[in-house]
């Protein structure tokens, strides 16, 4: 068998088609320039965990005006959103106000929402005016997301919500909420769930901040007392909520915010590092390179119509670990500002909890690993 004679000239072109060097590189450059300008103009101060704690409605409107909210449903796709969000997180820009709408609920509305709902909300989301919070977790449920007790009861032209959600970030200042509620009972807990879009100004909705380590912060409780949701604000099919939620997990877990929450601290660490720190800092640089590539792969697969749940879980598990390790290295490098370290330290307990705990992710990843071999 002489391999060289047979295969001559066959695959040189093969794996090249997916690279779109000019356009994508250009978009990153454009984003960088704009962000740098905003920084120069004092529009924001960098901080860690800015996608959750950097809440700035004006900044969100700036992004909206630039056309940078809703890229995934406006014909640009996940790869471009990946570039945009990477650069925003790198800069520690205050993107929390529109984050949930842009990442998760906007795409869900675009895919599953009624024509009326799309018309009513997508333009507002794209402008940065419509701000979503998530109503998933409930008291005492923990990782058991399916144990939903919030009920939606049929009424004229819609549904009435009763119950309570918790850990809804920024609910007290969101314009809308995504709510997972039980529309029928007596079945397996994964059945009879429905996704709703709720106007937070509707009568019977109350949001209350939960004081955390920094005082009153982003976490809220939300109470529903006969809050009305019109039929047009049902997402997808009544009763199919659980399947729809799990289908969205790749969106929720596979983004760069699962890796870059402490990047602003890493940037300060890179600036301060001396020869004695080179090894520890270099390890972070190497790992980050691989993690960002993994994130890029996830985005490309979502653009290809896949739901890469296993890869997204892998990214999140390893990314959360990286985010914490950045803090540990930063602590060891002389000259990194204490305030930046402390800010990241207080945020860190949340990294591996939000969007699925390490334990939950481990099960998802192991399942993929065994599927890959079985």
């Amino acid at each position: 068998m002489t391999f060289r004679a047979e295969r001559r000239g066959t695959f040189r072109a093969e794996r090249r088609g997916t690279f779109r060097a000019e356009r994508r590189g250009a978009f990153r450059a454009e984003v960088r320039d704009q962000i740098a300008k905003w920084r120069r103009d004092g529009v924001f101060e960098p901080r860690s965990d800015s996608w959750l704690t950097g809440y700035d409605e004006d900044f969100s409107r700036r992004l909206g005006a630039r056309g940078w909210i809703g890229l995934t449903w406006r014909g640009r796709g996940f790869a471009d959103r990946f570039v945009l969000t990477e650069e925003l997180l790198r800069a520690g820009a205050p993107v929390a106000a529109h984050w949930i709408a842009d990442r998760q609920i906007g795409p869900a509305i675009a895919r599953l929402g009624s024509a009326a709902l799309k018309q009513a909300l997508l333009p507002g989301i794209e402008a940065g005016d419509v701000r979503f919070c998530l109503g998933m977790s409930e008291p005492d449920a923990g990782s058991d997301l399916a144990s939903v007790r919030t009920r939606a009861v049929r009424t004229d032209g819609g549904w009435l919500l009763d119950g309570q959600k918790v850990w809804s970030s920024h609910a007290h200042r969101a314009t809308h909420a995504y709510v997972l509620a039980r529309t029928s009972t007596g079945e397996h807990k994964h059945r009879g769930l429905t996704e709703f879009v709720l106007d937070m100004s509707a009568p019977g909705v109350t949001a209350r901040q939960i004081p955390d380590m920094r005082g009153p912060g982003h976490f809220c409780e939300v109470f529903f007392d006969g809050a009305f949701v019109p039929d047009s604000a049902v997402l997808g099919s009544v009763g199919d909520g659980w399947g729809q939620v799990t289908g969205q997990l790749a969106f929720e877990r596979g983004g760069p915010e699962r890796v870059l929450s402490t990047y602003p601290l890493l940037a300060l660490t890179l600036a301060a590092a001396g020869p004695a720190d080179a090894g520890r800092v270099g390890e972070l640089v190497a790992r980050l390179t691989a993690l960002r590539r993994l994130g890029k792969q996830v985005a490309a697969r979502m653009d290809a119509g896949e739901a890469p749940i296993g890869a997204a879980a892998t990214l999140k598990m390893l990314g959360n670990r990286f985010e914490v390790d950045v803090i540990e290295v930063a602590r060891s490098v002389p000259g990194v500002p204490r305030a930046a370290i402390d800010d990241a330290v207080l945020a860190a307990p949340g990294f591996s909890l939000r969007g699925g705990t390490t334990e939950v992710l481990g099960v998802v990843i192991a399942r993929e690993a065994m599927g890959a071999v079985g």
Partner: protein, 256 residues
């Protein structure tokens, strides 16, 4: 011949090699190492094609001098110059692979290509060991059920898989920018650490039987232990720690 066919052929034929000298002869005859070298001198294809072959061979628990035949280098390892597959082969590493201690330096571009291919070797070993670990956990029964059903074991299976995925992503980043010597350094450091993690977890899941020759896991893990120190992350990572934020952030962005 498609790439999967080439990979399969390489695994099959090298699996029958008597020793490293034999493997080198076969590889050279088949010209596998010329993948990624422009024709007519080479066999065409991309460096990615070549890494695919290297990975497949390593994932099967086999040794081959593919990277060295492609990019003959002499490395400085912990202060000593080491030729991984030199002509004299006076020493033997933990995996039973021969090597020399030499003194000829290699050029930067050649070294970068070798690092990418050596990373591919580690990635393949990680993938092979992770896959074996998942398969073992899914079938091995203890306390009346497959051990994968125990959360602690499942977490180990996930860890092995995740590390292999991460190392492969690092390799892809290096392939996206094969002119940048530092992405190759990053890819190799990540693969080296992944090798350590995957080998540890694989043995933990397999239990005592994992160290037996009969089980065959050690054909993968011994290679991971040998390859991860050629050189190890402790020599590579310091090269990446003082780049500054902008250069570090742009690592691996070559295909954008």
């Amino acid at each position: 011949m498609s790439m999967p066919d080439v990979e399969e052929a390489a695994v099959k034929v090298l699996g029958g090699a008597a020793d490293m000298r034999d493997a080198a002869r076969i590889t050279a005859e088949q010209g596998w190492h010329l993948l990624g070298v422009p024709e007519p001198e080479g066999a065409g294809g991309t460096l990615a094609d070549l890494t695919g072959v290297v990975r497949a061979v390593s994932a099967a628990g086999l040794s081959s001098p593919l990277p060295e035949l492609h990019a003959p280098v002499v490395l400085s390892v912990r202060g000593q110059l080491i030729a991984p597959w030199g002509p004299a082969w006076e020493n033997v590493n933990l995996a039973g692979e021969p090597y020399d201690i030499g003194d000829a330096p290699s050029s930067g571009a050649v070294l970068t290509r070798w690092r990418i291919l050596h990373a591919a070797r580690l990635v393949g070993g990680c993938q092979g060991a992770a896959a074996r670990t998942a398969a073992y956990a899914a079938t091995r029964v203890q306390f009346g059920r497959p051990i994968a059903r125990f959360q602690a074991v499942s977490a180990l299976v996930a860890e092995a898989h995740a590390q292999a995925v991460l190392a492969a992503a690092g390799l892809e980043a290096a392939l996206a920018d094969p002119e940048d010597d530092l992405v190759a350094v990053a890819a190799l450091a990540t693969a080296s650490r992944a090798g350590t993690a995957v080998a540890r977890v694989a043995h933990q899941v397999h239990g005592a039987i994992g160290v037996t020759q009969e089980m065959g896991l050690e054909r993968l893990t011994r290679r991971l232990w040998a390859w991860r120190d050629l050189p190890g992350e402790a020599e590579l990572e310091p090269l990446l720690g003082l780049l500054g934020e902008e250069r570090a952030w742009d690592l691996g962005a070559g295909d954008e």
